[in-house]
């Protein structure tokens, strides 16, 4: 029996979505830094506006450079299409706003990025969308929180800050049994480590700011549609199954079939919310994605070395990383994340908040800042920065101890990193 030979992940990371530029022959993706595009005739203009011909009208909605990036992430995730956005937060908002409106409800993992938590817990309720937060390790809790007005289940491949591994197959089973889609934030893992669609997820978004671009120079996001969810069968999504007056009564499921969600997201959300990615940013993300497989391999090998080093350091109380046998999700991680559990993790320093501050002040190679997924290694002490207003009890409620240090391991020589960490850890104990 023939098996179809398709291009591999590394090849797609370099090529997907791009052909040599037809106008100039440029091998690299050109930066089409233009707001708009000249129509060939009045009829050509009408045919673009009426979705009769493929092409570009205005860069808020589509752009040739950005389109290459969108195709590339769709190829790497195994989806039907994608939309690049101004940030990861914009990607998250676009996914939600395409499906939900006032009166609707989300069931979300409670171990999520703080920015997403702010959106779900504080901001979206102002627009009539409520969220119930549940334990990501308990698929039954997702099921129990579903209400008649629930429209979406949400979680991250690796939760924050404990690196809870979301059981995507189990949670997607819960979602699909209720006629609901599962949205996944896959920022920490990238498609190199985890392809959520192959595990049952329906929609994915990324902060492209992190590992996808990989160099800490842009802000961007991507939302990807698997094309697999049965919107018509669910019966819960009139934005996709009923005529949309805002686009000449377009019926997205009837006209675009598997591409219904991503088509509505572009024709409404990209058009009306306007949180688009700039072509120059898209180019920079593409440059990063060309080396995604190589970088992720190094991120993982360095992370494993640092985890091992810290686990044996006398100034360290604990290390949380799902590849370690003492992590609660160790078995699940081996199954769902066999290539690695990312390069962001936390450890606890002996001596609490004061020791944490001394440690931070003594690192010299690692950079103290609020970001992850850079080629350079990064460090932050939440109790003295992002969560500095919280006392010990409030921190504990948020799952953060006073001595918690978060690392994002980069691509440096591993022994240079351990040397820097060792020096700072020793200094931290001399209070």
């Amino acid at each position: 029996m023939s098996k179809v030979k398709t291009f591999g992940f590394d090849t797609l990371s370099l090529h997907a979505g791009q052909q040599p530029d037809p106008a100039t022959g440029a091998r690299a993706t050109p930066i089409y830094q233009t707001a708009s595009y000249v129509f060939k005739s009045p009829d050509h203009a009408a045919s673009l506006f009426n979705v009769e011909r493929a092409g570009h009208v205005y860069s808020r909605i589509t752009n040739p450079t950005t389109a290459v990036l969108e195709e590339r992430i769709a190829a790497l995730e195994g989806g039907v299409g994608a939309i690049a956005t101004a940030s990861g937060q914009a990607a998250c908002h676009l996914a939600i706003a395409t499906l939900l409106g006032a009166g609707d409800h989300i069931v979300s993992s409670r171990a999520i990025y703080g920015g997403t938590h702010n959106l779900l817990d504080y901001t979206l309720p102002r627009f009539g969308i409520q969220t119930t937060f549940v334990d990501p390790r308990d698929p039954d809790a997702f099921a129990a929180a579903i209400q008649p007005n629930t429209k979406l289940l949400f979680g991250e491949t690796l939760g924050n800050p404990g690196l809870d591994v979301l059981n995507i197959p189990a949670v997607s089973d819960v979602a699909h049994a209720h006629g609901l889609p599962l949205l996944i934030d896959s920022t920490f893992t990238t498609p190199y480590l985890c392809q959520p669609f192959s595990l049952g997820a329906d929609l994915v978004f990324h902060s492209a700011t992190k590992f996808l671009s990989g160099h800490g120079v842009i802000i961007g996001g991507l939302v990807v549609d698997s094309g697999a969810f049965d919107w018509a069968g669910s019966g819960k999504f009139p934005t996709l199954t009923e005529p949309y007056e805002g686009f000449h009564n377009m019926n997205f499921v009837e006209e675009f079939g598997p591409a219904a969600f991503i088509s509505r997201a572009r024709k409404e959300g990209a058009r009306d919310f306007g949180a688009c990615m700039s072509p120059t940013t898209a180019f920079q993300v593409l440059q990063g994605m060309e080396t995604l497989p190589l970088r992720m391999q190094r991120h993982i090998s360095n992370t494993r070395a640092i985890v091992e080093f810290l686990a044996n350091h006398k100034a360290v109380e604990w290390v949380t990383y799902p590849e370690r046998p003492d992590h609660p999700d160790h078995e699940l991680a081996q199954k769902l994340l066999p290539k690695g559990c990312g390069a962001v993790f936390s450890f606890g320093i002996k001596g609490g908040r004061d020791a944490g501050q001394r440690f931070i002040s003594r690192v010299e190679l690692l950079s103290h800042l609020a970001n992850v997924g850079d080629a350079k290694s990064l460090v932050i002490h939440p109790a003295s920065t992002t969560h500095h207003r919280m006392d010990a009890a409030a921190l504990e409620a948020a799952g953060i101890s006073e001595g918690l240090i978060r690392l994002s391991i980069g691509l440096e020589d591993a022994d240079d990193l351990t040397e820097d960490l060792d020096r700072a850890l020793r200094a931290s104990q001399k209070g």
Binding site: A16, R53, N63, E70, E71, N251, F256, P258
Partner: protein, 262 residues
């Protein structure tokens, strides 16, 4: 539009516009395991330009009920009956791959119903790779992979979609995965068993346009020449660097070609 026929309640997409009396008509017929969504762009174009458009979901496909037809001629009968149900006496008939055989059969056997004919990615006879047939019979995923990836030129398998932000291979995979059980096998058998293609080609009386991809490995361009030669009023529009999935790989060039025949 929903059409009540002896083959079941069949669905036809109209290009998002209602039919009007006395407008010329164009009928689109999809390929194996697919449905009307492969024709959305040209359907919307011709609907805006004064045509009554019918992009038919063949019986058992897409939104149409009924059992999948077992022969090309039976599918052509379903198309003709659908046209009748929609009040369309004749039309430009456009078909892709299996749909091109259906269009050919319809134009040959019901010559008064075909104003013109466009055959896209076609050849007759249309042999089917034995591995495709075996996989389709088992309803496993290999046949979906074969139709998808063999359907695109190697270059298009890397993307570069004219339709911004859409991954062509992913879209085709998902569409075929939605096909009901046994539909793909039934379609492939119908293609393989259609032995009267060249005879039908000789019976066609209307102008015919062949739109062929020069990198099509499913229905190679040279294989269509016997059909072209058999017709009295046929011409060929070759699309370069293009595989079998012409609507996805070259939507604009395909539309430009269709405008010359519809």
């Amino acid at each position: 539009m929903e059409l009540n026929t002896s083959f079941g309640d069949l669905f036809a997409y109209t290009g998002a516009r209602d039919h009007k009396k006395d407008q010329p008509a164009v009928v689109f017929i999809h390929g194996t395991g697919m449905d009307h969504t492969v024709w959305v762009l040209p359907s919307r174009y011709f609907a805006r330009h004064g045509f009554n458009v019918m992009s038919i979901d063949l019986p058992g496909h897409g939104k149409s009920s009924g059992a999948s037809s077992e022969t090309i001629d039976e599918m052509a009968d379903a198309v003709i009956e659908s046209m009748h149900a929609a009040g369309i006496s004749n039309a430009a008939i456009v078909g892709h791959s299996m749909g091109s055989l259906v269009a050919l059969s319809a134009a040959a056997r019901y010559p008064d119903r075909a104003r013109s004919l466009a055959l896209i990615g076609t050849t007759a006879p249309m042999g089917v790779h034995p591995d495709m047939m075996a996989s389709a019979q088992k309803n496993d995923h290999d046949v979906i992979d074969m139709i998808t990836y063999w359907g695109y030129s190697k270059s298009a398998q890397l993307g570069g979609n004219e339709n911004p932000g859409m991954w062509m291979a992913g879209s085709t995979l998902r569409l075929l995965e939605k096909a009901k059980e046994n539909v793909i096998h039934c379609d492939l058998k119908a293609c393989e068993n259609y032995a009267t293609g060249l005879e039908h080609a000789k019976l066609v009386r209307c102008p015919t346009l062949f739109i062929l991809g020069d990198r099509d490995i499913m229905t190679p361009m040279r294989a269509a020449q016997k059909m072209v030669d058999a017709m009295s009023d046929a011409r060929v529009c070759p699309l370069t660097k293009t595989g079998h999935s012409l609507m996805m790989e070259r939507p604009d060039a395909l539309l430009d070609a269709l405008i010359t025949i519809v």
